[in-house]
Structures are given as C-alpha cells and as structure tokens.
C-alpha cells in the first residue's frame, strides 16, 4: 500500500494532475441531478469505449480490400475463435450507441438542458449525433456485402442529385467512377481514422463543458432561466443542496452503464453478428438490398416521396433538420425548462418518435416493393379457385404468369404495392377492370402490349369473380340499358 502511494506520489510530482482530477471528481452537483434520468450520456460513452476496443480487435483480421473484405468477414465469423462474437459486439454496440445518443438527446431536450449557458454543449451534442450516424453508415459499408454495395449505390444516387456538382461529389464519395476498391478504402479511412478522431474531439469538448458549466439542475416548473441571474442561482443551488459528483451521482451512471454493457453482451451472444449477406458482386442481381436498422426510416421515406418532391426533400430536408437542431438553443435559450410547462416540446418529441417508428416499421415490411417471387412462389389461395369456370381459372393462371401477384395480394399473400384484390369486383366494373389492366394508371404499368385479347378476357373474368359471396359485383347500369336485356359479354361472375 505504501509502495503504491509512493509511486503515485512520484508520478504526480511530475504530472501535476491529481488535484485537477480530484476537483473534477468531487465538484458539487445539485442533489436532484443525481437521478436515473441523467445516465444516458455516460452509457453512450461506455459503449463508445467498447466500440473502440472491439473495433481494434476486428482490425487485427479484417482486410479493407474490395476483393477480400467479404471473405475476411467469413473468416472472422467461422475460423477465428470467437471472431463472430467480437463482430456481434461491434455491430450491436453500434445500434446501442445510436439508440443511447438519441435517448440522451430527448432527455436533454425535455429537461431544457440546452438553454443558457449550455447552448454550445447542445451544439457539440448535435455534431456528436451526426458523427455517430456517420460511424453507423460507414461501418455498414465496411461490412462489405450486397447490402453495403447497393447501399453505396443509393448514397451515390442521392449525392448525384446535388445541382451542378452532383456527379463530382459522386466521384469523390466513391473514389472513382464506380463502386470498387477505392470506395471501400476511403470508407475504411473514414470509419477508422477520420470520424473516430472527430468523435473523440467532440466528446472531449462536450465533457469539458459539462464539468465547467455544471450538470443541468432538475427542472422545476415555474423556475425560469434568465441570462442575468442563472449562473448565480445555479451556484447557490449547488452550494445549498449539492452532492459531490463522486460518489454522490456517479454510482447511478456506473450501475446503468454496467446494465447496458451486459445487455449488449447478451444481445451479441444471443442474436450473433450482422451478416455479412451475399458477396459484393454486382452481377448477382437476385438481391433485395436493405439498410441497417437506424436508416430504415430513410429507406421508407424515399419510397413514399412523390417523384417531384424527391430531390428537393433529399437535399433541403437534412439541411433544415440540422439547422433547426443547431438553432434551437438560440431560439429558446431562456425561460421554462420543465417539460411539464412545454407542451410543444413534448409534442415535438412524440411526433418525431411516432414518425420514425412508423417509417421504420413500414421499412421492415416494405409494402411498396413488389414481392419478386410471388408469381412463382405464392399460389392463389383455394377459395379464389373453387367453383370457378374454366375461363376464370384461366384468368387466375394469367394473374400468376403475368406477375400480377408480385404487386397485388390475395388473402393477404403476395405484394402490397398495389391494392389487395380480394374484393376488387365490388370496386370496379368490368369496363373499368379492362381499362385498368390495359392502360394502367394510378401507379400501375399498362399491360395492353403484353396481354393478348384472350388473356385480357380471362384475367378480367377472374378479377370479376373476386367478391364476397353475399355481395354482387359492381355493374354499369347504363350498359344493361344500352344493350337491352343482354349482359355485357364476359362470363357470369357468380359461382
């Protein structure tokens, strides 16, 4: 014991750092901020530390070469002892870190912690969110599989829409005219050197400001922030009702970080590493590229934006969003901190959360994508074939062979791109069905050139049979009158 303290004494005589550390550790924080709500930032930091360690471990094996990265991931998964587990930790760590940063941000926003004098802490926090997302995206590229390859294509397609210099940005992003070796190398440099460097720098400034300015006090409804008086009030509060950060508050951070790291280890063990999916060979086109979890919402938005809105929304949307986050502390730097008296703030968070969750959920089911193998892999359910005429069954065959099933569902099976057709005969008359099939419209291709008259007749007869047993199909009343007592000409639709 005496040896340790004498070594410590020798070191500090030269480093001159012990008093600073002690001051930092024991600085007084308001008693109420020693709360379970104030643990998310430190947990994100703990996960970041783990990411650094697992990242270095992966770099021992990983080869950042377009020709070999994928097989080095296979080696990690299958040939290196516990390589799969390190990959799983790093992949799950990425998801945990993004989630914790977002939760931390919501807490800071709801507790008004971005207000005077912590505006810059918030702004650096916004940059930390951006670099964390940058790490998540570039990490997804380093898992150099089919999703990474086509994900880069999506990134390049978005970047190319920048007016005038779009194609130049694409070449810079990809390191050349196509996605190839240079692309992976530069994303490796970004993921391993550039972005972590920024992350460490931002985290340092962020923490320094937290220590210098003090942790945000627990917001009390009615206690307003005023630039003239706030600092004095804060110091009085910490003097009157403060606890030293160590050990008064830090034990909760430690408990929560341990819980998070343990959950991360469990997730990694139970669910294993992410991918890699198929090899990054662009001649393998039987692929359905999908981004990682935290970019799914974007994938959904890209599908729902109308074509005319897409380029403006893609280029202006992020700028407006980031500017709004950066300007927030300047627009609302004073006043009420408590979320109980800030309904607009609570609604903003709820709206953002519901929107992101909805888009993420939709992107997990991709109702906008054709189900590429529905026509050959998903049969028409029996109830739509039973007691049908020969012509109607012929139409059912046309329905499959012409890939209608890829976009239209029957009994909830098949594509969800177009409307479900279980009871289409109630909505459209025979004439309308023919017109829709031949001319398309409303986001459906025209099939006029690809269907013979006989195929069209059969297909429409099948579609006309799609209605619930008790309800007759839609009919054009004027037609009966025009043709006298005769029917329109297609096969009878009731079974």
């Amino acid at each position: 014991m005496r040896l340790i303290s004498s070594i410590g004494g020798w070191l500090d005589e030269r480093l001159q750092i012990a008093s600073t550390i002690r001051e930092t550790a024991e600085h007084e924080v308001p008693r109420k901020t020693a709360s379970w709500f104030y643990v998310f930032g430190s947990a994100a930091f703990a996960v970041f530390m783990l990411q650094i360690v697992t990242g270095i471990l992966l770099a021992l094996i990983y080869v950042p070469s377009a020709g070999q990265a994928w097989s080095s991931l296979q080696t990690l998964n299958h040939d290196v002892a516990l390589g799969w587990y390190i990959r799983a930790l790093h992949g799950w760590g990425s998801d945990f870190m993004v989630a914790l940063v977002l939760i931390h941000m919501v807490q800071v926003f709801l507790f008004g912690a971005y207000k005077f004098p912590r505006e810059l802490t918030w702004i650096v926090g916004v940059f930390l969110l951006l670099v964390t997302l940058g790490m998540a995206f570039s990490g997804q590229v380093l898992r150099f599989d089919q999703d990474a390859y086509w994900g880069l294509g999506i990134g390049a397609s978005i970047a190319s829409r920048v007016p005038l210099i779009g194609p130049l940005i694409v070449n810079l992003l990809l390191g050349g005219p196509i996605i190839a070796g240079a692309t992976l190398s530069r994303f490796f440099a970004l993921h391993v050197f550039v972005i972590p460097g920024l992350l460490i720098a931002f985290v340092s400034v962020h923490l320094l400001m937290v220590v210098k300015l003090g942790i945000n006090e627990w917001p009390m409804p009615g206690r307003l922030v005023r630039k003239a008086t706030y600092i004095k009030e804060y110091h009085e509060l910490t003097k009157k009702d403060g606890v030293p950060f160590v050990p008064g508050a830090i034990w909760k951070d430690m408990f929560f970080s341990a819980l998070i790291l343990f959950s991360l280890a469990l997730c990694a063990y139970h669910y294993g590493p992410f991918g890699p999916s198929g090899p990054p060979d662009p001649t393998i086109i039987q692929t359905v590229p999908r981004p990682d979890f935290f970019f799914l919402w974007l994938y959904a938005i890209l599908s729902y934006l109308p074509a005319s809105m897409e380029t403006p929304a893609l280029l202006i949307g992020p700028v407006v969003g980031i500017l709004a986050l950066l300007l927030l502390p300047f627009l609302a730097g004073e006043g009420e901190k408590s979320w109980r008296r800030r309904p607009a703030a609570v609604l903003t968070v709820l709206l953002a959360a519901v929107a992101l969750a909805t888009f993420t959920h939709l992107a997990q089911h991709t109702p906008w994508s054709p189900v590429m193998d529905a026509w050959s892999g998903i049969p028409i359910p029996n109830q739509f074939l039973k007691n049908r005429t020969a012509l109607e069954r012929q139409g059912a065959l046309v329905f499959q062979v012409k890939q209608c099933h890829n976009c239209h569902s029957l009994a909830n099976e098949g594509g969800k791109r177009g409307p479900a057709l279980d009871s289409v005969a109630l909505r459209l008359t025979q004439d309308q069905l023919i017109r829709q099939v031949i001319q398309g419209g409303g986001n459906m291709p025209a099939y006029g050139k690809n269907l013979s008259p006989a195929e069209t007749t059969a297909l429409v007869a099948f579609l006309e049979s799609l209605h619930p047993a008790g309800q007759p199909p839609a009919r054009d009343a004027s037609r009966t009158m025009a043709l006298g007592a005769k029917t329109g000409g297609a096969a009878p639709s009731s079974p």
Partner: protein, 180 residues
C-alpha cells in the same frame, strides 16, 4: 524605453513566424488537396470511359432481353468482383439493340427483367419499367439509363466506365446511337 522596442521586435518576429508557417502550410496544402481531388481530376483520360464488349451477338436472340456482364474498363487488382458490372441487353428486332444499366433510375438498386409481363422491376422501392426502358410506375423520375452501343465483328460493344446516377443523366444519352 528599451522594453517596448524589445517587445515589438519579438512581436514582429512572431508575426514573421506565423507568415513563414502560412507559406509552408499553403505549399503543403496544394498537393494534399490535389491528391484528395484525384477521383475528379483524373478526368476522362486513361480510357476509363471506353468501349467494352458484351460478347457475341448470338447470345442475344431477337425479341428477347438478356442479362450480360462486363469487366469495368479501368480496374485495380484489389477491386475483386466489384469491377464486374451487369447490364440488360434487349435485342429489339434482330437489327437494333438497347443496352440498359442494371441500376434503377431512382436510387441505383439492381432491376430485374420479367419476360412474362415484359417489365423491369426494382426490389428497393418498387420502380417498374417497360421493355423499352421507359418508366412504367413507381418513384423513378425517368426511364432506365441506356448505354451507347456498337456492333463490331459480330460482337456487341457498349461505352462504359461510369456508374449511372440520376444526377449524371446528361452523361448517358437516351436513345439508340448509330453504329460507330
């Protein structure tokens, strides 16, 4: 009175120091920027935009659309399979051809050809195109990108080298080019 003079001499020397370092910084920065911009400034030399063959014409029967692959004209030894690019070749009538990029005009995902319904469909956001490459439905703003092609010695050649992206549409002109 010697003190202020002494100080200003040191201040001048410090300013000179900043000046020298600024010059050195510029001297060092120019090649660094030049290096960083090399993917752009490498430009159109080195034949990166050149004619590559897709193989013999008899691989592409009249009236049909077939998948073809080619090796990108500029490759590095570590590019691996990423330098192998796919494209769709449509033999319109035995005489004229259309060669479509594999990349959807929306966000670049690989489109698949369905001969039964004569449509190209994209697995990402549901873009669909007719057999001549024109837009049928979905989010794409335009038809499929087309390569220039020529026929030489019974082989089909296309002009390739760039990954087509929506912003680059002007580089890849739609419409069939006369044989060069």
């Amino acid at each position: 009175m010697t003190l202020p003079t002494d100080l200003s001499r040191r201040a001048l020397l410090m300013k000179l120091g900043i000046f020298f370092n600024s010059i050195v910084a510029v001297i060092l920065a120019v090649p660094v920027v030049r290096y960083l911009l090399s993917p752009i400034t490498r430009g159109r030399k080195d034949g990166y935009d050149s004619w590559v063959t897709l193989g013999n014409l008899d691989q592409f029967p009249s009236g049909e659309t077939r998948l073809a692959t080619y090796r990108n004209p500029v490759v590095n030894s570590w590019d691996g399979a990423t330098a192998d690019i796919a494209c769709w070749v449509r033999n319109v009538d035995g005489k004229s051809y259309q060669v479509f990029a594999i990349n959807c005009a929306h966000l670049g995902c690989p489109v698949r050809w369905f001969p039964q319904s004569s449509l190209f469909m994209c697995p990402c956001h549901g873009g669909a195109y007719y057999q001549d490459g024109s837009r049928a439905s979905g989010p794409p703003e335009r038809g499929l990108f087309e390569y220039h092609y020529k026929i030489d010695g019974g082989k089909l050649f296309i002009r390739a080298g760039d990954m087509p992206t929506p912003g680059q549409a002007s580089n890849i002109v739609r419409g069939i080019q006369p044989c060069a």
